[in-house]
Symmetry: C2
Subunit: 342 residues, 2 copies
DNA sequence: GTTAGCACTCTAATGACGAGAGTGCTAAAC
DNA sequence: GTTTAGCACTCTCGTCATTAGAGTGCTAAC
């Protein structure tokens, strides 16, 4: 639907005023805010029309208007002019990310923290995934006679480790056997190929050594799973408590903590537009239907790998947040690509 | 101060009732709850006395009584009988911790989650520290021609890693030089000895190779710092939102997120009793003065290494939570010791 | 030392009321 | 045909008075 220019101006003003103040806007207030040479009555007529069309709504008769979900949508799609990020915010982002340390997870943690500070929203992000990733390296670092730390590195830069205990002594022979198996059966394979079945078959084929080495193989399979799993990172949740108009923060925070739904959401929309905005009821999950979710995928080595998302009330400053998120995802992608590059 | 037996009975009843219901208790209600063959008037007299002594207080004239901080303290110190943990909770704890994977951080995360679920409180924990810990092993895993992942393992079982980039090519010679330096100057030293000065001196002494190797040494120093630093882990923060009587959850959650104050608190009281309870204003930090903090140190290899803490409103079920926390810290200590044991 | 009884105090809930904000509509003006 | 002034209307919010109920402290009797 296309609105008249004046209606657009009025709608934009309502959205921006409401975002800024949190108060419903009346025709008089609006008149002061936008400079159109008409009277409040005219504005009222236009507002009545906008109401009828569903772009704004009234909490109650004697209150002003607030944008409806449709109103926000129209604003985001057509009216909003995106601010350029101020140079000092860009610098801040770059500075904070540059000393994050090179692991994807650390980069995302830092990115999440910066973004949370900058936006006063909750920030979620998913660790990079790559269906074509393969196991690149496995290291076994002995800690004691019966314990060792196993480290697995994937071609997409994910590093996972865990301590494992063996029942029999962890001697050189055992370690060598392990490395042989690894380089023969695991290096270069994708993590998802490391099935329980494969592990069992291998263990059996080793005969007498089977018992000694099986704890190591189990650990290996655990690590493969961990490597493959997308993780959801969460920052700035407590920011959500600052929005007094938030209905039940607990439910939302628990939803974010659970993580899987969002992970799936991000994974599912990978192909789409660069930055997506889901407003209120546009969200599939009930827990998000009082919020807006803005998310954007970052690319590692030219391929979409994971996403960063912002969550706040529907009344957030879209015009400011969208560029911030966009810039950050670009930087995150760039840094991760740099680290991986051979 | 020593109260008469009847006063103690009444105080205990007030505390327990208030913990259970959240409602101030009146003399009549109390009469039904405790079975003492006296009238409500007698109870009233006793309650008046307890009020005078500061053990209980009245939100307003026509309300019942609630325990004061002093009242809680007396209850915790003298009246409360600690419940034995039900066997199924013990089993749950053990089960959840057994598949945590062996790294301290993972164990603590799991422990925190279980405890948060069991208690409906926020759980904090500090990673183990050991002033005598030394660098046990450093590994450099090449990822590309100019990048590598460095892994540092301390004798207390802490594993830290980071990616580092070198300006010049990461060839075998460079790697060998690095390992030589490491084994000569770093292995067996405590992380705190890895000063910037030492790093600079070493880099200088290498002459022409200095430039090539310095990124590696910087990474090493970063890792040493990370290894030494105590980390504060946080679970179940959103539980705090369920207590409607909580004044400003935001402030508290930000305080927990910041972490250092609690880290210091735990570090400072290491020598004391096994389990400590700080009620309301007994807490040094303003942000905690509406809460109670229960914490307990876990021992790795017989030495206090870190702590787990529970945070909730002063109105929490001390009799149930203290044993839960205590049991969990024991198990955590045991598991960590097992993993470390040679 | 204990108890019954009672006056007293305070909260929470309820309803009445007026001020204020904002609207929609109508009729006149441009 | 659009715009505007004016006005009646509606609804919220704060204030105030009133009431019911809970719980107390005190006194006098046991």
């Amino acid at each position: 639907m296309q609105l008249s220019e004046r209606k657009e101006k009025i709608l934009a003003a309502i959205v921006e005023w409401y975002i800024a103040t949190g108060e419903p806007v009346g025709s008089k207030t609006l008149l002061e805010y936008i400079h159109i040479p008409v009277s409040s009555a005219t504005i009222r007529n236009e507002m009545a029309e906008l109401s009828r069309l569903g772009f704004i709504e009234q909490p109650h008769t004697s209150a002003g208007r607030i944008p409806s979900q449709i109103g926000y949508r129209y604003y985001v799609d057509k009216l909003m002019n995106r601010y350029e990020l101020p140079i000092n915010e860009k610098r801040l982002i770059e500075a904070r990310l540059s000393d994050a340390g090179g692991e994807p997870q650390q980069i995302l943690e830092q990115a999440g923290q910066v973004l949370a500070e900058l936006t006063n929203c909750a920030v979620v992000s998913t660790t990079p995934t790559d269906e074509n990733a393969v196991i690149r390296r496995v290291e076994l670092v002995p800690l004691g006679t019966h314990t060792a730390m196993m480290v697995m590195l994937s071609s997409s830069g994910i590093l996972k480790s865990r301590v494992c205990r063996t029942d029999s002594e962890l001697n050189l022979e055992l370690i060598e056997t392990f490395y042989n198996i690894v380089s023969k059966h695991f290096i270069g394979k994708s993590a998802s190929e490391v099935s329980i079945a494969l592990i069992q078959t291998l263990a059996l084929s080793l005969g007498s050594k089977s018992l000694a080495i099986s704890p190591l193989l189990v650990a290996l399979s655990d690590l493969a799973q961990l490597t493959e799993q997308t993780q959801l990172l969460l920052e700035g949740q407590s920011n959500l408590l600052n929005y007094t108009d938030y209905p039940n923060a607990y439910e939302l925070m628990e939803f974010l903590r659970r993580g899987e739904p969002l992970t799936n959401l991000f994974a599912g929309h990978k192909a789409e537009n660069n930055t997506n905005v889901l407003i209120g009821k546009e969200n599939f999950y009930r827990e998000l239907q009082d919020s807006s979710l803005i998310y954007s995928h970052y690319a590692v080595g030219g391929k979409d790998s994971g996403a960063l998302g912002l969550i706040g009330p529907t009344r957030i400053d879209y015009a400011r947040l969208i560029p911030s998120l966009k810039y950050l995802t670009e930087i995150v992608g760039k840094i991760m690509s740099d680290t991986l590059e051979d």
